[in-house]
Symmetry: C2
Subunit: 337 residues, 2 copies
Amino acid sequence: MPSKKLGRQTVALANPPAIIGHANVVGKKEGDGPLADSFDHIEQDDTFGEKTWEKAETAMQKMAFASALDKAGQAASNLDYLFAGDLLNQCIGSAFAVRGQDVPFFGLYGACSTMGESLSLAAMSIDGGFAQFAGAVTSSHFCSAERQYRTPLEYGGQRTPTAQWTVTGSGAVILAKEGPGPYVTHITTGKVVDKGIKDANNMGAAMAPAAYDTLTAHFKDTGRQPSFYDLIVTGDLGKLGKEILLDFFAQDGIELTNYDDCGTMIFDLKKQDVHCGGSGCGCSATVLTGYLLNGMREGKWSRILFCPTGALLSPTSTQQGESIPCICHAVAISMSK
Amino acid sequence: MPSKKLGRQTVALANPPAIIGHANVVGKKEGDGPLADSFDHIEQDDTFGEKTWEKAETAMQKMAFASALDKAGQAASNLDYLFAGDLLNQCIGSAFAVRGQDVPFFGLYGACSTMGESLSLAAMSIDGGFAQFAGAVTSSHFCSAERQYRTPLEYGGQRTPTAQWTVTGSGAVILAKEGPGPYVTHITTGKVVDKGIKDANNMGAAMAPAAYDTLTAHFKDTGRQPSFYDLIVTGDLGKLGKEILLDFFAQDGIELTNYDDCGTMIFDLKKQDVHCGGSGCGCSATVLTGYLLNGMREGKWSRILFCPTGALLSPTSTQQGESIPCICHAVAISMSK
């Protein structure tokens, strides 16, 4: 078997898997934002009819998964693997969403980078000859995340200027060995990068170095210039993290003119009181499965580099004075193989 | 590329990866147990010289990983991927252990099944042509787990008869495309199984149906009889879960004479006051990387079916009255390809 490795961190898939279905579900606030048209389902009731926020997140993830399967014309029982994860302690959003579904399951934790991680592993499972069909699903919910990472909503805690707003949303992608594009062509897997940021309310600054590290590795490994892509998009660096990333590249003499961040795209930062922008596994997942993949199908872009970012902290590690380890995975998606 | 799929849940690896290094580190209580001789390092101080239990777990995981790399004669910078996970909220044991290491990282959450999940994905990354070398690491620590899942140690909470004792230990495996055995030959990926058990102090009963489901799938998919293996070993069903699994097979007219459970092997259940036995990611990981793989190399067994089990609950899901979704991944390990 020929090696698929390009440099240290990147693989080029020999037979790029096709994205045959993608769908998302979001909450009311996301539905009030600039990307409203790209969401499959906007739920006005953030409880999703459930008694707890955690169960609401599970319900939302099940809806997104079912919808993506439906669009792909597949049943869960046709999937060889499902790769899923979320932000909740012990990833219960995903474990409970997949309960009762007839599908072999790999649970992941990559914080807000999980859509990149799940997409990478799902694509590799197909390209490696282990699967015909594989799914990648992830979610986050503002209310379950707030009370777990910060304070219960009832407390009404004030947010710092660098804080971000956890997206209530779930995105699901179904990949297949054969099918029309878009295709997953390259995967650059991130290393854990920690530059010493300790402020859990400034994740953009913590994650930007990880995004820079992975993007730099991707360009080096593939020999591609940033301009090769019609759009390079990070997960949830937010306004500040995005500026920091642009600064890093400027120091290398590179001006990223084709770059944006899902965290700044999903909300109207001026009107929606979300400070530095959106965050959470659901942020990059819903932007990918709506605005980005729809746009590719409509001919808006033919080559995208999708780079979700994750802050691998916990409330315990923050209380113990630790800085924040971060990671970013890059997935190249193209309309042609 | 020829399909590697056997039936619904199993893949047969075309070029079974070799286990070129394996190591473990455990705490004092594990070192007082019947498998003491099989551990590479028994630490008498469960703090591992750190100020918190979480940092102790990270330190322990770093030691196990470094030791496995050393035995494999490899540096972290030679690994194409590291697959790692643990039980702590947001998997901080692993994220902090891998911080600063030069290796592309996939974080996993499979509760106590994580050694099966990481071994599966590491082997698939090599067999699929994406890697020459890959690592699988996991850990658990009694003290970090107790205060997270149950009560702080200082509380002195009483344990129910069906409770298990979280193993303080970490195991690491380094896989390579080429090398002397043992080899990872088959992987059966589990589905989430939940038969309605709600008692978080009876995880053996909750997990046994998942183990039965995966084992049954493995035998069906491969056409192998249980007797094909010299030893079939589950992760941490403990005394009660083990009896339940034997009962399930007895109802199918199958007597499993070559079966044991890491949770009952790692401690002396009569003398060590651990009620139903050991549990935690570190349980199956340390038994695999010591007693089992050492035994294979010494000629004790030539074919093993390693089946770690995981309970995908959280304290929050238990408080919300949910039952416990469980999973089991089976990995066939053989001295010959």
